[in-house]
C-alpha cells in the first residue's frame, strides 16, 4: 500500500476489537487435554507476550515448564501423555506483512526424543488468530482418534475414525466437504498414515503443501491419536498499535524482498534456484553423498526451466507476494493433469538428487507430494531411500530383506518405500524408525553409509560437507536442526559478510555469532523467506503491530535466550555433548566435485570447541555457563542447571 490509502479508516468501530488485551495478539492460548476431552482458553499477559513473543519462544518455555519428570531432573519422552504438542503462531500472523501465517510446532520429537522447533505456513496463523487464539497447547493421549475443530469460541474434539488411513490432502478434502468450507475458509493441519503409524520422521502437513517436518512431530500427533486440527477462519478482529506504520513497514519489507540481491531470486523463484546454485558449490547431495558430480545436463534444472515445465496456480500463504508457493499441474507423461505442490529445493533434493532421480523431473515433483500426503519428512526420506539404494547396490541390504530391488532413481520403487514406511510393512517397519536407528540396527558396513547426526536427527537437504556452517549448526542445535540458520545480513549483528566456508574456526565463530535471529523469526508467525530483510525492518513491523520498542540487539538476545531454554530441555532429555557429531558418512570427505578433499572431520573437534567458547556453554556438560545465563537474564535457569551455589 502506498501512503495514499493510509489516511484514517472511515467508520464503524468494531466492538470485538475493543476487548483486545494487547495489540497484535489474539490474547488467548487454547489448551487441549485429549485424555480428559477438555478444551479451554487461557489468557496470557502482555508481559508474557513481550518475554516469549510466540512461536518457538512460547513453545520452548512451555516445554521447559511442563515436560519435566517429577523432581525436575529428567524429561518425559516423546510418547508420554505429558509431552506437549505446541502449535503456535505469533504477533505478526494475520496482519499484512508478507507470509504472515506462520506455524511453529514445538514438542519433544520422536526423532531425537528431544526438543523440536519446526515451521510451516499456509493459513494456520491467520485462521487461528481470527478465531481468538495465539497458540494451541495439546496434552494427553486421546482414547480414540479425534480431530480438533476450532470455529471462534466453538472448540470441539470430534470423532476422526472415518478419517483414519486417509492421506493429508484427502483428510483436508474430506473435512472441507463435510464442513462445507472451501479455500482458506478452513485450514487443516493433519497427519497421514505415516503419523498414524508412528514413523519417527512423520511430519504435520497443512493447507495442501505446508509441512512442519522435523523431528517426528507427526508421530507425536499420532501417539496422541489426534488426526487433524481444523480451523475455520475466525470472525474476530486483530488490532495493530500503529496500523499505518505496520503497512508501511510491510511494504518496505516487500520492497526489500523484491529488490535486494540477497532475496530477489527467492522472490522470483522461491527455492528453485538452489539446485543449480548448490551444485556449483558441491552442496547438492547426489546419490546419498556418494558423488558431487552431476551426470545430467544442469540447464534443465535452472529455475526458469523448472517453472516452465509445469502449468501453475498461485498458492501463496497469507498476505504473501513472493512467487514461491505454487501448485503445479503435470503436463505430460503418465501423471498428466495431476496437481502437485511445486517442490521446494529440498523436495528436488530429497525426492530427487539424493536418491539418484536426476532426469525425471515430473516424477520427482509427484513423489515429493506423495511424501507430503503420507506426511514423511522429505529430507530424512531422501537419506533413508538413498541409503537403501546404495546398500542394495553394494549388497548390504538384499532384495530378500527389502522385498524388491530398489535402484538409483527409481521413482515407483521410492513410492513403494513410502507406503512401506508409512504403514510399517515388512522392512518398512525398520526404516520407519528413521535413518540412525535403522543404520545402527544393521550395523557396519551399511551403517557407515548412512547420513544422520548422533543425536538422532537427519540433516536438511544439502551436502553439508560443503556447508560446514550448517553441519555444525545441525549437530550442536538442541532441536537437532538448524538453530542459527542461513545468515541474513550478518553484518547487522556484527559478523563478517562472508567467510571461508572451509575454515573451521571462522565457521564456528560465525555460526555462534549469528545465533538468535532464527529463533526470533520463528516466534513472529512469519515465514523465514519473508523475514529475509534487515532485522531493523522486522522490529519496525513488530513494534507497529504491538506498540513495543523492540531493538535489534533485543531480538538477538531473545533468540539466544530461547536457545538456552531449549538446551536446558535437551539436557533434561539426556542429550550430552558427545552426541553432537555427524555420522561417518555425514562427516566424510567428498571424493569429487567442487569440495573434493575438504575434510570437515579433521577440523571437527576444534570447530565444536570454538563454538562452545563463543556461545558461552560448558564444553563438558553442555550447560550454558552461569555468566551466559546472567547476561541473557535467565538467572532462574542458572539455579535449575547449576544448583544454588552457582
Amino acid at each position: 500500500m502506498t501512503t495514499a490509502s493510509l489516511r484514517a479508516p472511515s467508520k464503524r468501530p468494531t466492538p470485538s476489537a475493543a476487548r483486545q488485551p494487547q495489540d497484535g495478539y489474539a490474547g488467548k492460548l487454547l489448551r487441549v487435554d485429549l485424555a480428559k476431552k477438555k478444551c479451554w482458553a487461557e489468557p496470557w499477559s502482555p508481559d508474557a507476550m513481550r518475554e516469549l513473543v510466540g512461536g518457538v519462544g512460547l513453545g520452548a518455555m512451555i516445554l521447559y515448564r511442563e515436560t519435566a519428570t517429577k523432581g525436575g531432573k529428567g524429561n518425559v519422552s516423546w510418547d508420554h501423555p505429558d509431552n506437549r504438542l505446541v502449535m503456535a503462531t505469533g504477533p505478526m500472523a494475520g496482519l499484512p506483512a508478507w507470509g504472515s501465517s506462520g506455524l511453529t510446532v514445538v514438542t519433544i520429537g520422536a526423532g531425537t526424543n528431544g526438543p523440536t522447533s519446526t515451521q510451516a505456513n499456509g493459513f494456520f496463523g491467520t485462521n487461528l488468530k481470527y478465531s481468538g487464539y495465539d497458540a494451541i497447547i495439546i496434552q494427553g493421549h486421546a482414547p480414540d482418534w479425534v480431530y480438533l475443530y476450532i470455529n471462534d469460541d466453538v472448540v470441539e474434539l470430534r470423532d476422526a475414525r472415518d478419517l483414519l488411513g486417509k492421506d493429508t490432502w484427502a483428510t483436508q478434502d474430506t473435512l472441507s466437504a463435510k464442513l462445507g468450507l472451501s479455500g482458506h475458509m478452513l485450514s487443516v493441519y493433519s497427519i497421514g498414515p505415516a503419523g498414524e503409524n508412528l514413523a519417527r520422521f512423520a511430519a504435520i502437513q497443512g493447507d495442501y503443501g505446508h509441512v512442519a517436518s522435523k523431528n517426528g512431530c507427526g508421530a507425536v500427533m499420532g501417539k496422541k491419536k489426534l488426526k487433524a486440527v481444523a480451523i475455520v477462519r475466525g470472525t474476530k478482529a486483530l488490532r495493530a498499535s500503529d496500523p499505518r506504520g505496520l503497512m508501511q513497514a510491510a511494504d518496505d519489507i516487500g520492497f526489500d524482498l523484491r529488490t535486494d540481491p540477497s532475496a530477489k531470486s527467492l522472490y522470483e523463484y522461491g527455492t528453485l534456484p538452489g539446485v543449480v546454485n548448490l551444485s556449483r558449490l558441491g552442496a547438492l547431495p547426489i546419490k546419498n553423498y556418494t558423488t558431487n558430480v552431476s551426470s545430467v545436463d544442469m540447464s534443465q534444472w535452472e529455475a526458469p526451466k523448472l517453472r516452465e515445465g509445469f502449468d501453475h496456480r498461485g498458492h501463496q500463504c497469507s498476505a504473501c507476494g513472493m512467487h514461491h508457493c505454487h501448485m503445479s499441474v503435470i503436463r505430460q507423461g503418465e501423471r498428466k493433469g495431476t496437481i502437485v505442490d511445486e517442490p521446494e529445493y529440498e523436495g528436488w533434493s530429497g525426492a530427487g538428487w539424493a536418491i539418484g532421480a536426476m532426469s525425471d523431473i515430473e516424477g520427482v515433483a509427484w513423489l515429493n507430494t506423495e511424501l507430503d500426503k503420507a506426511c514423511l519428512d522429505v529430507n530424512e526420506f531422501g537419506w533413508i531411500c538413498g541409503w537403501v539404494m546404495e546398500c542394495q547396490e553394494k549388497g548390504y541390504i538384499t532384495e530378500e530383506q527389502l522385498g524388491f530391488r530398489l535402484k538409483w532413481g527409481d521413482i515407483k520403487g521410492a513410492a513403494r518405500l513410502i507406503q512401506m514406511i508409512s504403514h510399517r510393512q515388512g522392512f518398512g517397519n525398520l526404516l520407519a524408525e528413521g535413518v540412525k536407528r535403522a543404520a545402527e540396527k544393521l550395523g557396519s558396513p551399511a551403517k557407515d553409509c548412512a547420513i544422520y547426526t548422533e543425536r538422532g536427527a537427519a540433516p536438511r537437504g544439502h551436502d553439508h560437507r560443503a556447508r560446514w556452517d550448517e553441519m555444525l549448526d545441525t549437530c550442536t542445535a538442541a532441536t537437532g536442526t538448524l538453530e542459527s540458520g542461513v545468515p541474513v545480513h550478518p553484518t547487522e549483528v556484527g559478523q563478517p559478510a562472508r567467510i571461508n566456508t572451509f575454515d573451521g574456526e571462522a565457521v564456528a565463530k560465525f555460526i555462534a555469532g549469528i545465533r538468535g535471529r532464527r529463533n526470533f523469526e520463528d516466534s513472529l508467525g512469519m515465514c523465514i523467506f519473508t523475514t529475509r530483510t534487515r532485522l531493523e525492518n522486522l522490529c519496525r513491523a513488530l513494534n507497529a503491530a504491538t506498540g513495543w520498542d523492540v531493538t535489534v540487539p533485543e531480538t538477538v538476545r531473545f533468540g539466544r535466550r530461547t536457545s538456552a531454554i531449549l538446551r536446558a530441555v535437551s539436557l533434561r532429555c539426556g542429550h550430552t555433548p558427545d552426541l553432537e557429531r555427524p555420522s561417518t558418512r555425514y562427516g566424510s570427505t567428498p571424493i569429487d566435485g567442487p569440495a573434493k578433499g575438504q575434510a570437515v572431520g579433521a577440523q571437527w573437534e576444534k570447530m565444536v570447541d570454538t563454538w562452545y567458547r563463543e556461545v558461552g556453554y560448558d564444553r563438558k556438560s553442555g550447560k550454558p555457563l552461569p555468566a551466559t545465563l546472567k547476561e541473557l537474564g535467565l538467572d532462574w535457569l542458572t539455579k535449575d542447571l547449576w544448583g544454588k551455589r552457582a
Binding site: 500500500m1 476489537a17 496500523p243 498458492h315 497469507s318 504473501c320
Partner: protein, 161 residues
C-alpha cells in the same frame, strides 16, 4: 493510474494467488482493525485449493441497492461509488436482498449495511495486492471472472482432484 470518477476496480483473476491481503487491507479501511470477516472484497476459491479470485461491488449502473433503500441512505460518493450513510441507515437489510451480486453486507455489530465505497477514490485492495490482480482504472466494467470461473471449475465439476 489517475483516479477519476469513472475508474473501476478491474479484476485480473489469473494473477490472483489467494493470499487474501486485499481482504486485510479492505477490512482495515472499513473498520480500523484487521478483520477479514468484515472485508467488502471477498476472495473465492475455485477448484478448492488451486485457484482464487477476488470479487466486490461492481458499482453497477442500475444501483439496485439505492433503489431499494426506503430511507435514502445510499448515495454516490465523489469517487462514483455507492456509499451507505451510516447516520441514515436503519439496518433494514433491504439493500442486501436487492443487490443481485451479493456485494452488499450487513454488520450485526453496528446494525448497518456496508459495502465497497472505493475507499473514497484510492482503493486499499488494489494497493495491497502484491500481484496486481486488482487494478483501479478508467475502463468500462465487465464480467471479469466468467471465463476464469468456467475454466477453473471444470475439474471440480468433473470430480477430478
Amino acid at each position: 493510474m489517475l483516479a477519476t470518477a469513472t475508474n473501476v476496480l478491474r479484476i485480473h483473476p489469473e494473477k490472483c494467488t489467494g493470499c487474501l491481503r486485499c481482504e486485510l487491507a479492505c477490512s482495515y479501511m472499513q473498520t480500523g482493525t484487521f478483520h477479514p470477516a468484515k472485508s467488502v472484497i471477498r476472495v473465492s476459491p475455485f477448484e478448492g485449493h488451486t485457484s482464487y479470485a477476488p470479487y466486490t461491488c461492481t458499482q453497477c449502473a442500475e444501483g439496485w441497492c439505492m433503489t431499494a433503500c426506503p430511507v435514502g441512505a445510499i448515495t454516490i460518493n465523489a469517487a462514483g461509488a455507492k456509499d451507505v450513510l451510516d447516520d441514515t441507515c436503519v439496518g433494514c437489510k433491504l439493500c442486501t436482498i436487492a443487490c443481485p451480486y451479493g456485494t452488499m453486507f450487513y454488520d450485526p455489530d453496528t446494525r448497518k449495511a456496508f459495502k465497497c465505497n472505493l475507499c473514497g477514490g484510492a482503493p486499499a485492495c488494489a494497493e495491497a495486492c502484491p500481484t496486481a490482480a486488482i487494478t483501479y482504472e478508467g475502463t468500462a466494467t465487465e464480467d471479469w471472472l466468467g471465463e476464469f470461473a468456467r475454466v477453473r471449475s471444470a475439474r471440480v465439476l468433473a470430480g477430478v482432484r
